[in-house]
Symmetry: C2
Subunit: 369 residues, 2 copies
């Protein structure tokens, strides 16, 4: 492997050190579910490990989630001067997408969103254009989603958040009604079709790697890719909002067996379901130029790239065998390209990407976060 090989593991996030906390927290959290039983509510225990927490309140389920943007805003900040724009309208959509794209995987319709915008100093608020873009982008995403922006926190956390940075997160509450919409994967079966939905680019995962790569490029984010766009600009394409697709699919009566948001760990998220299944992919969506560029420049193998980045597929629907084409039609009616890309089989837990001769095997990574 060449010296300039760069993987996600090289880029600085050390999951081995964070995982013990996650395990401790998950164990402690699990023990609190019983509290709900005394009050006419009930935990849906099968939702633990899924992307959103689900509570049965009688005639409906509630789903809730809190998600963090990560470090993507640092790319926008680095691009601010050279590009003459703030990109925070895109960053706002990215932040909301991290929450709602997870929330809808359990069958929920998002109702309300809270913003969490923690700045490192009062200076952050002096860039009025950036502030306006953040608000406008946040509202625009809520409008697309048909979600109420319920409120939020805009603290100034000097000493906690880096002086010129902002920590962005979103929490979201959704409702699952009728209750039959609950989608936790209990019915997933061999023969089900795997429908992949296009991504717009890197979305909000892999940014630590992307930032590391920019440091290696002589022109950094200003590097012009073969198609003519700069690397930095392409990184900032906003994350696709998938809830309109899941809403359309539920309304169309598509038999949704399971839903996975393809985020960290890339296509390994396709095997997020805990069952013993092999996911055989026969059609690979086109790769956004920025992801192809990253794969090439970091000298990653296809196995490494598909195992850590979305590579053009940002979301997966697992549907009844006969519903693949209808699911694709639903997605495309909402402006999102989609493909019946493969099939679920009985077998060892792995993703087999036949056109690339790549197999992503189950391993210890915490795929169910």
């Amino acid at each position: 492997m060449a010296d300039d090989h760069l993987t996600y593991e090289d880029s600085g996030v050390d999951y081995d050190r964070i995982d013990p906390l996650k395990v401790l927290a998950q164990r402690a959290a699990r023990a609190t579910g019983v509290h709900l039983e005394r009050d006419g509510a009930r935990e849906v225990a099968a939702s633990r490990g899924e992307s959103a927490y689900v509570v049965d309140i009688g005639d409906a389920y509630l789903a809730s989630i809190t998600e963090c943007l990560g470090t993507k805003a640092l790319v926008a900040d680095a691009m601010r001067e050279a590009s003459g724009r703030t990109w925070y309208d895109h960053i706002a959509q990215d932040t909301i997408a991290t929450a709602v794209n997870d929330l809808v995987t359990v069958g929920a319709r998002p109702l309300s969103i809270h913003a969490y915008w923690a700045a490192g100093s009062s200076d952050w608020f002096d860039d009025v254009e950036r502030m306006n873009d953040l608000v406008d982008g946040w509202k625009a995403a809520c409008d697309v989603l048909g979600v109420a922006w319920g409120g939020g926190e805009t603290p100034c956390l000097t000493g906690v958040v880096e002086e010129r940075a902002i920590d962005l997160a979103a929490s979201c509450v959704g409702i699952i009604r009728p209750k039959s919409r609950l989608t936790l994967g209990e019915d997933l079966a061999a023969g089900d079709a795997i429908v992949l939905l296009e991504s717009s680019g890197i979305h909000a995962n892999g940014l630590t790697l992307a930032r590391k790569l920019s440091e290696r490029l002589p022109e950094g984010y200003a590097t012009v890719m073969p198609g003519g766009r700069t690397y930095g600009e392409a990184l900032l394409d906003p994350t696709v909002l998938y809830p309109p697709v899941t809403e359309a699919a539920f309304e169309a009566g598509i038999g949704l067996r399971y839903i996975a948001n393809i985020t960290g760990h890339g296509w390994r998220k396709i095997m997020r379901h805990p069952g013993l299944f092999t996911y055989r992919i026969s059609e690979v969506p086109p790769v956004p130029e920025v992801l192809k560029f990253m794969m090439d420049e970091t000298r990653q193998t296809a196995e490494e790239a598909y195992g850590s980045l979305n590579m053009g597929a940002g979301f997966a629907l697992f549907v009844r065998p006969e519903d693949g084409d209808a699911a694709v039609a639903c997605a495309e009616s909402m402006g999102v390209r989609a493909w019946v890309a493969g099939v679920v089989e009985d077998g060892p837990r792995q993703v087999v990407i036949e056109p690339l001769d790549v197999t992503l095997a189950e391993e210890s990574l915490a795929l169910r976060d």
Copy 2:
């Protein structure tokens, strides 16, 4: 005023620069409420400006909130070595308290909590004792509250969060059922009793001032206060969890007209309700030593101190005139000292603290955040 006079405004948080963003965001957020109307849900518009956002889902209301701890964890970090303990069990309770104490002011019962723990580097996770204390304290608070810990985010945000720090927040979902529990203050009237509930100390507001003061004290957090405890240790007394009191009050049929969590801006939060009322206080709860110490050492007047810190009263219930004593009994049955401390009157919006000869007048500060 002496040279060593130090107020909240001096301590570094410049609200004048943050407020424009809040105003922009609140205006944009308000315009998204209509989205709910198409789906059998409905925004409770009167909840905008209150401490939690409320949605009518038919046979119940949902309430949701996201709240940030602020900078209190920096005090725990500073005390780590000298005291030989991490204090993160207390910090966990503080973080949860910021969310649930706000959530219950609208009449909600908290159902589930999500953790948001964003560390500045993987190194944060190497202090196993601190990690354990954070998890144990979080779970213990959930147990006291009877709330389900639904999940959370534990990202590592190098470049966004300061290298040795952690940004802690909590989001909470609650239910208001029966719907008659909704408490938005519409019935608040002259003659209602003001019941103040004890605080345990500084809680999670005023920590920037507290940290600034520690820099001025020759022995910093190790300064021994007259009663024998150190300043740092006393600052870390965990925030009182008030939801058991509000639950008991609803169960006892207390006529709750309005509820206010006394946080930033201290006793000015007593006039949080938007109506034209004067809040006349005739009994002042004992002041926790750490707050008395801060007031003395910063040379603040009573008006400054009561206008920025909780000064011994962390939560206020506004109840029917005849229910004051019953509300006190409810609180004390849950181990929280309480006082029928005053009365609501028609008049200009102000808090009159008669025993101290202090009047806190309405002003431009964003009291309704």
